[in-house]
């Protein structure tokens, strides 16, 4: 993996600012796609902006006819969510 500048965002605004200020940044959420791509040297960002501390973009809730799954919610959390499996039983089959 090529080296990069690691930065940790403290808020969404901070994440956007750090991303904008960097030469060629990528956001790091769970990293399950980004990290394998970096390991293969298929990408060479100048900066990684880690979103790990942005707890306000994690969570699952119902809003009328919709289920809202926020961007930093993990697959595991979605899969084990009672709300999701009650409303979308097919989700149970997609392990």
């Amino acid at each position: 993996m090529y080296n990069f500048e690691y930065q940790r965002a403290t808020s969404i605004e901070d994440a956007l600012k750090k991303h904008g200020d960097a030469e060629d940044a990528r956001f790091l959420a769970g990293g399950m796609t980004l990290i394998p791509v970096l390991k293969q040297r298929l990408d060479q960002p100048s900066d990684i902006i880690d979103l790990a501390e942005l707890s306000d973009i994690t969570g699952i809730f119902q809003d009328g006819d919709s289920i809202i799954i926020k961007a930093m919610t993990t697959h595991h959390t979605v899969h084990s969510s009672k709300l999701v499996t009650d409303k979308i039983p097919a989700q149970l089959a997609v392990h």
């Binding site: 990069f4 990293g31 399950m32 990290i35 394998p36 390991k39 293969q40 880690d50 595991h76 392990h95």
Partner: protein, 154 residues
Amino acid sequence: MPTITMNVNNKQVSGDVEGRTLLVQFIRDNLGLTGTHVGCDTSQCGACTVHVNGRAVKSCSLLAVHVDGADVQTIEGLADGDTLHPMQEAFRQHHALQCGFCTPGMVMSAIGIINDNPDPSEREIREALEGNICRCTGYHNIVEAISAAAKEMR
């Protein structure tokens, strides 16, 4: 170079790492805990599985800085002195390994499976092992061992 601190197998550790240092590199190279294996370069094989804050994860797919401050458990942290963890004992009893290279990751994943689902069916165990590759056993005895350990651990 960032300094990170973690609790690894109930011991506070710290070290200086590059941004690109993977958790598995920190565990193996900085801490000398070489029970956590690297079996591929593509995040597929699961030999590097450890627990981070109680959840089984592939330590080759996490940056060490990303999990700064976390509680980490590796294969070395399972046994209590000479007494094996029930999952390790079940792997031994059921001969759930041949060459043993994938075994640390298998055991850590297996404990994660039981933590999520204390009474898994054979099919659920096989599905949950999707992220762990074993090239020797054909998985049969691994599944048997996990079923047996699940009973022990309930």
